[in-house]
């Protein structure tokens, strides 16, 4: 290799790579996400020795607060929400010296100018070389404003011209609330940023099992060779939560389940399950294949919108034996709200591999249990052998559990020992937690690291988000046109409204009991 930038010391696949020096600025530093996820993630990265000492974190928010107050609150949050407990006091003493707080309104340019000066001081103190990650953990309505101010005050560098330092933005979901707003937001952001500087976070992509999907599919020949319409009858994707909306009433009244979970998490999982093998593992090659899946989704006809999309809302009921209130009784929720907290739909991917294979998706709040699973239900073998009358054997099912109890199981048929020829389905089970002795890092740890390393593989690309909205926006439009009249339509603690069962049962199939 004669390339001038060829690094002779580099040996791909042998060294793991060190994290670059940088400052992480969190907008919305007093929010729930910062307390529950971001600060614990940084602490654990530091604990695992994965953060460089040339690192600082600055919380940016409107509330007046000193560095010391921010650190104290951060410590409390970490003590409460960190995956590793208790707090290591020696480590904390070092870690807290890298935590700072900056008070400003999001719209005041003066606040950003002060921030720039402060970050420059921190560069000298910590050797962070001018590298910046801006994490927008705020309401989406502030995204454009913050980017505009960061740009006008020189905090975002020109991606093409500045080569000795970098600036990146992490954006939390939702990215828009429909196709039009997503397009507008993207156009606005591109006024101030290069697409390569935008990291749209979807924490599902940071989960080990989701990352394992590619390995599982493309590093094992026997799954991939069966992964098509010849052998697969249908696929079920379930994202179920047993909790309600808690204190997020205001947000849910605006968003609903389709925007909060389906548009991002479910669509990401769907595209990973259905994508073709990428030509290599570069971020763009993987994104290209995911986008092809989303673009191949069969648009939902008016008929399909009526019959194959089922919306629901939880009413009062019992979850895990405890009595719980319905959605309309939650705080900051209208008593006549028609916001969906459950969604079931059937989709088709019109490409060579998946022609005719339905993907059944269901997701909801206040379902009987927390479970995220992809289930691949295979077709029956030719019905010549091992069949008694019309009774069919159980189909083979490959279940990939994303959470909890991450792992994979395969249901196969087996002869019952003894003189009879009875057949019994049995399960071969792999569980991450009982196979590896390593505690997997939290999704946010992995994703923050990847952003600092400049690896966009596990972040959603613009066209993925837009393609997803393009497919789902007609559902929102249809619902706006035809508001529901039967909410709440299922009790808390059930697997959703009866219409969702009817939707799949009319095809001669059933939802899996998780």
């Amino acid at each position: 290799m004669t390339n001038a930038s060829f690094n002779p010391l580099e040996e791909p696949g042998q060294l793991s790579g060190l994290i670059n020096p940088c400052i992480l600025v969190i907008f919305g530093a007093t929010g729930d996400l910062t307390a529950r996820k971001l600060l614990p993630a940084l602490y654990n990265l530091s604990k695992d020795g994965q953060l460089p000492s040339q690192f600082a974190c600055v919380g940016f928010a409107r509330r007046e607060k000193t560095h010391e107050e921010f650190r104290k609150e951060a410590k409390d949050s970490i003590a409460k929400f960190s995956r590793t407990k208790p707090i290591d006091e020696t480590l904390w003493a070092q870690f807290e010296e890298h935590l700072f707080y900056h008070t400003s309104e999001f719209h005041l340019e003066e606040g950003y100018n002060r921030l720039r000066s402060f970050l420059n001081e921190l560069d000298v103190q910590f050797g962070t070389k001018g590298n910046r990650v801006f994490y927008l953990s705020t309401q989406p309505s502030f995204f454009t404003l913050i980017c505009e101010k960061l740009h006008s005050t020189g905090l975002i560098y020109d991606h093409e011209k500045v080569v000795d330092k970098w600036s990146r933005i992490i954006i939390e979901k939702p990215f828009g609330h429909d196709l039009t707003s997503a397009l507008t937001l993207q156009a606005e952001l591109l006024k101030f940023l290069n697409e390569k500087q935008i990291y749209r976070i979807d924490h599902y992509l940071g989960k080990e099992t989701v990352q394992n999907l590619l390995v599982f599919r493309f590093a094992n020949i026997f799954f991939e060779s069966l992964w098509n319409n010849r052998y697969i009858d249908h696929i079920q994707i379930t994202v179920a939560e047993d909790i309600g909306i808690g204190t997020r009433g205001n947000f849910w009244e605006e968003a609903g389940l389709l925007r909060d979970i389906v548009q991002n998490h479910v669509m990401q999982v769907l595209s990973l399950v259905a994508m073709e093998p990428p030509v290599n593992l570069d971020a763009d090659s993987i994104h290209d294949e995911k986008v092809k899946v989303l673009k191949a989704l069969r648009p939902l006809s008016e008929e399909a919108l009526k019959k194959e999309v089922v919306r629901g809302q939880y009413g009062p009921g019992f979850v895990n034996g405890a009595e719980v209130i319905g959605y309309r009784q939650e705080k900051n929720v209208s008593p006549t709200s028609n916001v969906e907290t459950f969604l079931a739909l059937k989709v088709f991917i019109d490409n060579w591999r998946w022609q005719g294979v339905p993907f059944y998706i269901r997701s909801g709040k206040r379902l009987p249990k927390k479970a995220t699973e992809i289930a691949v239900i295979f077709k029956d073998p030719p019905a010549v052998l091992f069949q008694e009358g019309t009774k069919r054997n159980e189909p083979n099912v490959l279940a990939i559990r994303i959470q909890p109890d991450d792992g994979t199981s395969l249901k196969i048929n087996c002869k019952v020992p003894g003189p009879s020829s009875s057949i019994q389905p049995v399960k071969m089970d792999f569980r991450y937690g009982t196979y590896f002795g390593i505690e997997p890092p939290e999704a946010y740890e992995r994703l923050i690291c990847d952003c600092i390393l400049g690896d966009r593989t596990l972040f959603a690309r613009e066209d993925e988000v837009l393609s997803s909205w393009q497919f789902l926006t007609p559902i929102l439009d249809f619902w706006a046109k035809e508001p529901t009249t039967n909410f709440p339509n299922h009790p808390s603690g059930s697997w959703g409204p009866r219409d969702a069962d009817a939707m799949i049962e009319k095809d001669g199939r059933k939802w899996r009991l998780l």
Binding site: A4, S5, F6, N7, P8, L9, E10, E11, G13, Q14, L15, S16, G17, L18, P21, D48, G49, Q50, L51, P52, S53, Q54, V124, G127, R431, G433, T434, Y435, F436, G437, I438
Partner: protein, 363 residues
């Protein structure tokens, strides 16, 4: 051997008995690979045992621990089985340990004992705790089953002979090879790769005229070749920059190596310090000077040994020092790294190749 001694024919049945006898609530028996360890009875035995425990805590595996005792009475061959606890907490992960102690004259029976107990379809990692350059028929036998042969250059009496031995085994068994000492210098390799990643810095790297490596010579019960890591590090840089070896001056307290680079001669010198809190052989600092009067110093923080401070200066400027931090190591970490690296490091093979050409025992 602390476990109950059993007849070799009863290994499987005893393991089953143990497993059936323990309370299996929230307990799981796991094996990601077969880890076969061979070591002769010496002062490193306990060290190898301790790093084995570290490995299974992260990656539960079926451990077959073979130790050959030269002083054992003729004909002695003991086997025992027990269960290792890989992790505690809500779910306890356990794995099997099969221990074999043999006298020299019975060691060739060992392959026949262990073969039925290698779990099929799982990789077989053979940690050979002895010098691969010494002929040992057991290595010939076990090596042929191994997916990966892991050596420790600590165990060789001469680094040059060790390098020849590893290359020979690699050629013979066509499997991947690894070396714990190579893994031990990974942090420094990471840092140098990162520090010299820009085209400008790569050009400066080519201008090196002097290199000084300082390593730790603290006393150790298990290590006795403190210079191996330093030798590897300089050889790695030399091979990556295509330097050719000119001369080696190996004197009792001072070794100097001279290479020829495309820009001129490069002198490599070794220095030592004694820091009792750090492992013997650990690299403490690396200094590089270039023809253009640039000076790079990579210095390990003695108190926080997973941190290295890098300073860069020229006649005109001195940059703010940079601090590199890498995951904390500890005993067993090198073995874990070497088990899970994919393939054999081509850089490592080139380093070995260079070391075989050194006509004096520099280490």
């Amino acid at each position: 051997m602390s476990a109950h001694i059993i007849d070799p024919s009863k290994i499987q049945s005893e393991l089953t008995k143990i497993w059936e006898g323990i309370d299996k609530v929230n307990k799981s028996r796991a094996a990601l690979f077969n880890l076969v360890i061979y070591i002769e009875h010496n002062k490193r035995l306990d060290y190898i045992r301790s790093i084995t425990q570290k490995v299974i805590e992260k990656f539960p595996s079926r451990v077959i621990f073979i130790s050959v005792d030269k002083d054992a009475p003729q004909g002695e061959l003991k086997t025992a089985v027990s269960v290792l606890t890989a992790s505690s907490g809500e779910f306890v992960i356990t794995c099997d340990l099969i221990e074999i102690i043999a006298s020299k004259d019975t060691q060739m029976r060992i392959p026949f004992i262990i073969l039925p107990h290698l779990i099929p379809d799982l990789p077989i990692y053979l940690l050979w705790g002895e010098d691969p350059s010494l002929k040992n028929p057991l290595l010939e036998e076990l090596g042929s089953y191994a997916t990966r042969l892991i050596f420790d250059s600590e165990s060789g009496s001469s680094l040059q002979e060790f390098a020849k031995g590893v290359l020979k085994q690699k050629e013979q068994f066509k499997c991947d090879v690894a070396d714990l000492n190579w893994a031990r210098i990974e942090p420094f390799r990471e840092i140098l790769q990162s520090a010299f990643s820009s085209p400008l810095k790569i050009e400066e790297l080519k201008e090196i005229k002097e290199m000084k490596i300082c390593y730790n010579i603290s006393e150790s019960a298990v290590f006795c070749h403190p210079k191996v890591q330093a030798t590897y590090l300089q050889a790695w840089i030399a091979t990556r920059l295509n330097w050719t070896l000119k001369e080696v001056k190996a004197e009792e307290k001072c070794t100097q190596i001279t290479y020829q680079s495309e820009k001129g001669e490069v002198k490599v010198a070794f220095e030592t310090k004694e820091i009792s809190d750090l492992p013997m052989g650990m690299i403490l600092s690396l200094e590089l000077s270039t023809n253009k009067n640039a000076h790079f110093l990579f210095e390990r923080n003695i108190k926080l040994s997973n941190q290295v401070r890098a300073t860069y200066s020229t006649a005109e400027k001195c940059l703010v020092p940079e601090n590199f931090i890498f995951p904390k190591g500890g005993a067993g970490q090198s073995l874990i790294k070497e088990i899970f690296h994919k393939g054999t490091s081509l850089h490592y093979l080139k380093v070995l190749d260079l070391i075989t050409k050194v006509d004096k025992n520099i280490c």
